[in-house]
């Protein structure tokens, strides 16, 4: 199995995409951490200071949404999106590669749809100055932007995976493979 960490010989563009995905992972992690602190701050303000908490709930929701979307590419990079890997595990390497190409192409298409229409919503929110309906009135284009952005970054990481699969140096279906079903051979 190709170790995702030992990839110095991989094309520069692929390595760059991976770095971007890893950076997104750090940002997503910090967003989740921030939502912990903000929720605790909200409890403190309500319980101890006895004052109003107008913005915290929405801020936390938007942070978790953003973390999810920006995290998509990072989790793809780590092969962390789980699937039912029973059938590919039983396939010979050649067939598994063709299946992987097909799966990647479909996923790329789906990401493309999300980017295209997600941008639409973002653009609407931005051009019409939509706000959240709370007292906080947060500009909605910011959370809406994370949909096309997150899927675009996901698209990039998928493209890198597709390229590596085409040149036969990696197989995303193999990476989430169950080791005791079939040892990986001929993939790298």
């Amino acid at each position: 199995m190709t170790d995702p960490a030992l990839s110095d010989a991989d094309p520069i563009l692929v390595r760059m995409i991976r770095s971007v995905s890893e950076l997104c992972g750090v940002i997503a992690a910090l967003m989740i951490l921030a939502s912990v602190f903000i929720t605790c701050q909200m409890i403190f303000v309500r319980l101890i200071l006895k004052s109003s908490t107008f913005w915290q709930t929405e801020a936390v929701i938007y942070l978790v949404i953003a973390a999810t979307l920006l995290g998509l590419c990072y989790v793809q990079r780590l092969r962390g999106h789980v699937g039912v890997d029973l059938v590919p595990g039983l396939m010979p390497a050649g067939a598994r590669r063709i299946l992987a190409l097909f799966v990647l192409a479909l996923t790329l298409l789906m990401a493309g749809v999300m980017i295209y229409y997600g941008f639409d919503t973002f653009h609407l929110a931005w051009s019409r100055n939509w706000k959240s309906e709370s007292v906080w009135a947060f500009p909605l284009w910011i959370p809406y932007m994370t949909v096309p952005l997150g899927f675009a970054l996901f698209f990039l990481q998928l493209s890198a995976d597709l390229y590596m699969t085409v040149i036969g140096r990696d197989n995303p279906l193999a990476a989430s493979m169950v080791p005791d079903v079939l040892p990986q051979k001929g993939d790298s």
């Binding site: 929720t39 995290g71 789980v82 039912v84 789906m110 229409y117």
Partner: protein, 438 residues
């Protein structure tokens, strides 16, 4: 096309797509997109990103990453090892002692958490590696946690019970109380199976070969204090008027991080990053599935598939227990594909009139429905707990997790049968506390 034929087609195609090895979330999004495009036209595609966003636009989802952080931070310290050391010294004579304490921990955690994947993640993070290290079969280690984790939505508080209460206008307080004894009964059934499975595997004798003195048993207890502090802190936050159920998760996460740093000296940024990285990976994976399942359930609803199946069940003129059996099968199948909240939101308003006309108690039915949803959580293709376990212990194959969970599914089916025979298991406590209802 007739919605029921369409339902069959969706079912087959979903199974085929998911079995290609594609990630569950992407697979659900692709199937949903495909069917919407073919049967609803291009205009529906424009809704997809909004639906995806809307599914995540909920404060209650916050508890998922939070309870994962709790588990991850406790797992990266000695706390887990200390706890199991203590449990082993105390439960050494019980075959399967550790799996029993794990199930107990799941039940305890379920009493703090409203969500099943979160319960599964928090206990599994510590429990699975420890059980395997001590010679428990992989199937028992993974299966017990997958099943024990499902208690999160049965033992109060429960997000799905709240959703059911709102959708059917039933008392949430009553619903919470109704889950208590069925929850305890399920824990007992799980434990009974675990003891049997461990005893059968023969490893239990190895485990119980050491004997500990009372001195050894008591001197380990202080090491369990941080863990108790967390549990008591979370229980106090939830029941002491500090925070709402969803907010409590954040208190627990902060408490765990603070204890990891202060008591277990986990202050190197690299250690903290490992906790955050693992939590982020698991959270994003689960939230992606939830959002995608939301889009998928929109497709099912939009093509009138869910409603048609439920209505079809309602039109059948059969004995009420046959009807109940059929409703159970429907819920079971829906649970295979959809997350509990989605099933409840779509099915409860349609099924409830059928249930009440047939003379069943809606509070009792909520418990039946919840146990069905628990089964769905540990059955493919959308078994959130299976994927949580897969995230925690990637080297245990899904097949092993599945086979390990099967006996626990049998326990749940047995629990449903027992609840049908003795509805009082669910309704006695709420009737005692809140008076005879409805």
């Amino acid at each position: 096309m007739d919605p029921l034929t369409l339902a069959l087609l969706v079912g087959i195609i979903t199974i085929v797509v998911l079995f290609s090895g594609i990630s569950v979330a992407s697979g659900l999004l692709i199937v949903a997109t495909g069917f919407l495009l073919v049967f609803d036209g291009v205009r529906s595609l424009a809704s997809l990103p909004d639906l995806f966003f809307a599914e995540l636009n909920s404060f209650a989802l916050l508890s998922i990453p939070m309870f994962i952080i709790m588990g991850a931070s406790i797992a990266s310290t000695r706390a887990g090892a200390d706890l199991y050391e203590a449990l082993e010294r105390w439960l050494t004579r019980v075959p399967g002692g550790l799996v029993i304490s794990n199930l107990g921990a799941c039940a305890l955690f379920a009493a703090m958490s409203g969500s099943s994947p979160a319960t599964c993640a928090a206990i599994g993070k510590m429990g699975i590696p420890e059980m395997r290290k001590r010679g428990y079969p992989d199937g028992v280690a993974a299966g017990s946690i997958a099943a024990g984790g499902t208690l999160g939505i049965l033992i109060p508080p429960s997000v799905t019970m709240i959703v059911y209460g709102i959708a059917t206008e039933s008392s949430i307080g009553r619903l919470f109380l109704a889950g208590v004894f069925p929850g305890i009964m399920l824990v007992a059934l799980f434990m009974a199976w675990s003891i049997y499975a461990t005893w059968r595997s023969g490893d239990a004798r190895v485990l119980s070969s050491t004997n500990y003195t009372w001195k050894q048993k008591f001197e380990i207890l202080p090491k369990v204090l941080p863990f108790l502090a967390i549990i008591l802190g979370v229980l106090y936050a939830m029941y002491g008027g500090i925070a709402t159920p969803s907010e409590t998760a954040a208190v627990g996460a902060l408490l765990c991080i603070v204890i990891a740093v202060l008591i277990y000296r986990l202050w190197h940024p690299r250690d903290l990053w490992v906790i955050l990285r693992d939590s982020t990976r698991e959270s994003v994976m689960i939230l992606f599935i939830i959002a995608a399942a939301g889009v998928f359930s929109y497709m099912l609803s939009s093509l009138f598939i869910t409603q048609s199946i439920a209505e079809w069940i309602g039109t059948l003129d059969v004995n009420r227990w046959v009807l109940m059996a059929m409703i159970n099968v429907f819920l079971l199948v829906a649970g295979f594909f959809l997350p509990p909240v989605a099933v409840i939101l779509m099915a409860a308003p349609i099924l409830l009139p059928i249930i009440t006309v047939a003379g069943f108690d809606p509070i009792w039915f909520a418990v039946i429905l919840t146990i069905n949803m628990e089964i769905g959580l540990i059955s493919p293709p959308v078994g959130l707990n299976l994927y949580v376990i897969n995230g925690i212990a990637p080297d245990i194959s899904l097949k092993t997790i599945l086979l390990g969970s099967l006996p626990y599914v049998a326990c749940m089916v047995l629990a449903i049968v027992l609840l049908c025979l003795f509805p009082g298991i669910a309704t006695w406590l709420p009737d005692q506390v809140m008076g005879q209802g409805l």
